[in-house]
Amino acid sequence: MMKRTLLAGLSAVALAAASGAAAQTEVTIGVLNDQSGLYSDLTGQGSVWAARKAIEDFDPAAHGLEVELVFADHQNKPDVGSSVARQWYDVDGVDMIVDVPTSSVALAVNELTRERNKVFLSSGAATSDLTGKACSPNTVHWTYDTWSLANGTGKAIVETGGESWFFITADYAFGHALERDTSAVVEANGGEVVGTVRHPFPGSDFSSFLLQAQASGAEIIGLANAGGDTVNTVKQAAEFGIVQSGQSLAALLMFLTDVHALGLDVAQGLIFTEAWYWDLNDANRAFAEEFAAANNGQHPTMVHAGVYSAVTHYLKAIAEVGSAEDGAAVVAAMKEMPTNDRLFGEGEIRQDGRKIHDMYLFEVKAPEESQGPWDYYTLRATIPAAEAFRPLAEGECPLVN
């Protein structure tokens, strides 16, 4: 705070000296994510770059803004994340926190942001509670959530002809929720769940579960788990030749960087839902090219693109409101303006804080289909924005009346 007032004082003096210059609104943006662990490829420095790029492209000076960017590692621990966020809000004058993968950390930041009346734009977090029970007038959930992944994957696969399902589920609350949501969608669309099996979390040996799945004869094996568990299940499924023998694997939480880590040999035939892919159109490809040039050839994930899109819209709202002080007012302005940026195109933010856009069902290419590095997906279906997210009334969000 001290530093801010000092800075404000100084800039006031500077302004008086250079009379006639436009007043500058100061904004500080904090990128809080995993820089060292499981999700550091998926979010990490790529998100920092995306936020910086969004600020550059927005040209803050022309809009009378002065934007500063900070970032930190939350190590996927809610207490580390919440103490960084607290310090940012209370001491360092941060106005908005963006990204925050790992649901437990995101929920902690969500509560804190509401308390301090700042802004939280979540791109990396999965939990659909952020726009459900825990929804807040200070939070926008940008890129994806568990409901939209379960819905997209479940519905689109049944519609494109995968009617019988078998679930391999991580045995804890998150896995159960994924399985429950997806089964509901599958059954509502005329599919059938022929069986489920629970594996301990975290697991390492999935062979017996995969054999049960194989024996069930289901067309689709749904992986209701995440991170290392999903990666290991996919690897071991490749060893059993499950995809080659005609069954398909549907991952419920999978990202471009996971496919890259697995390699096409192992990941081919995998089906899952994402919100964004770099090779969908020219604008995305241009962004990916710049991203790769700055990040050792890595390509952007949907989380990175979401950070870019969220920061862009946030800055537009700040330029409109004229101040970053009142977080709830900024978010209200963000909800009022339709979103439009070069990566996600046109969209909107719903009353419960859910950003609405199309979702896509992808299938991982076979090695011989791939044209080069990072050419991994074929588009199997587009889930239109209107159907991609949980209906407003079903979320139990207290903001919706």
Partner: protein, 363 residues
């Protein structure tokens, strides 16, 4: 600082190997040194307290709260490893367990903090009684493994149990006023509340160490068979120390749940058990202030280096290696050993100076 033995054998986790002589001499020293009202230890404590009282003027209070919570946790752990020679690798179970209990009592049952925090600490103590009763039957590495195994069981219980919120933890724990008047929602007020809790816990540990009970604990650490042969019911002493340590670790965890408004799997994971070992080793095992310094160093690094991403973990690792290789007594332990060496040298010099003229006079 009246305690001066930080035996290197304890640093490697083995127990009851170093000579009993050093303990005998140190306890004689400590008895002699605690006679005056202001010992070095008390002066150090008063200086620490004075510093702690004004610290929020210079530093961010929530950061200080975090330091104090971990300092109390490390002190509780040190009571066991530094003074009884029992290396528990499952203390996260008590720390994190109490933070879940406290969070549930505050949020779901709506208990006020003055009830929830002690109740959660006692619940952790009860867990400690059960775990301790099982674990103290074995020694050394086996003891560590039993505690680790039980802590992992508790971790998976916390992952599955409905009241813990699984992966998400218990979020948005309310900071309700204590006794209806002390507003814990204010960060500075909260800091003084936590400081009071820490001081109480710290003094309890200090008192325990310097009581006849504490002397027996140290005797067990130095040479268990000898303590048995002297007629002490060693197992009962160990169990009591284990329970006390678990209760105080629980007190730290419960306080942290109130302060940070969340209880999560991080606090019951085995990494947390490792982190407290790290804090205690860096600060100085078997010293009263060591764990406080160690906790301050580690938490400061985690907080202020967060902007450097993965370098926090690398730095932590390097510091750990350096401490284990070069400063086995930890920061406080080395400082005390340095002071002790200087004192010896001065005494020797004095003795030499006093000894010289005498023979000269007789000639």
């Amino acid at each position: 600082m009246t305690e001066s033995t930080a035996s290197p054998s304890a640093a490697t986790g083995s127990t009851a190997t170093s000579s009993a002589n050093s303990s005998a001499s140190s306890s004689a020293e400590s008895r002699a040194a605690s006679a005056p009202l202001l010992t070095a230890g008390r002066i150090a404590f008063l200086a620490f307290l004075a510093l702690a009282l004004v610290a929020p003027l210079f530093l961010y209070p929530v950061f200080l709260v975090k330091v104090l919570c971990f300092a109390l946790f490390a002190c509780a752990f040190n009571l066991l490893v530094g003074y009884v020679g029992l290396l528990s690798f499952g203390h996260a179970m008590f720390f994190g367990g109490a933070s879940y209990f406290c969070g549930h009592m505050l949020k779901v049952w709506g208990w006020p903090p003055e009830l929830a925090i002690p109740a959660a600490a006692l619940a952790a103590g009860a867990m400690g009684l059960v775990v301790g009763a099982l674990a103290i039957r074995r020694q050394g590495i086996y003891f560590a493994m039993v505690t680790l195994a039980l802590a992992q069981m508790f971790y998976f219980f916390a992952l599955q149990a409905p009241f813990t919120g699984g992966e998400d933890g218990i979020q948005a724990i309310p900071r309700t006023p204590i006794l209806g008047v002390i507003e814990t929602a204010n960060d500075t007020t909260l800091y003084y509340v936590v400081l009071a809790i820490f001081t109480a816990g710290f003094l309890l540990i200090y008192r325990t160490i310097h009581s006849p009970f504490g002397q027996v604990l140290k005797a067990i650490r130095e040479n268990e068979p000898r303590a048995i042969s002297l007629g002490y019911a060693v197992d009962r002493y160990k169990l009591l120390a284990f329970t006390l340590s678990a209760t105080l670790a629980g007190l730290a965890g419960a306080t942290k749940a109130l302060a940070f408004q969340l209880a999560s799997l991080t606090d019951v994971a085995w990494q947390m058990s490792g982190e407290v070992v790290l804090m205690t080793l860096v600060g100085g095992m078997g010293t009263v202030f060591g764990p406080v310094v160690g906790a301050a160093v580690i938490v400061t690094m985690q907080n202020y280096l967060a902007g450097f991403g993965e370098w926090v973990l690398v730095t932590q690792g390097v510091i750990f290696v350096v401490v284990v290789l070069l400063f086995r007594r930890g920061i406080v332990g080395e400082a005390m050993a340095f002071a002790e060496r200087r004192r010896r040298r001065r005494e020797d010099a004095d003795a030499a100076a006093a000894g010289e003229p005498e023979p000269a006079a007789t000639h």
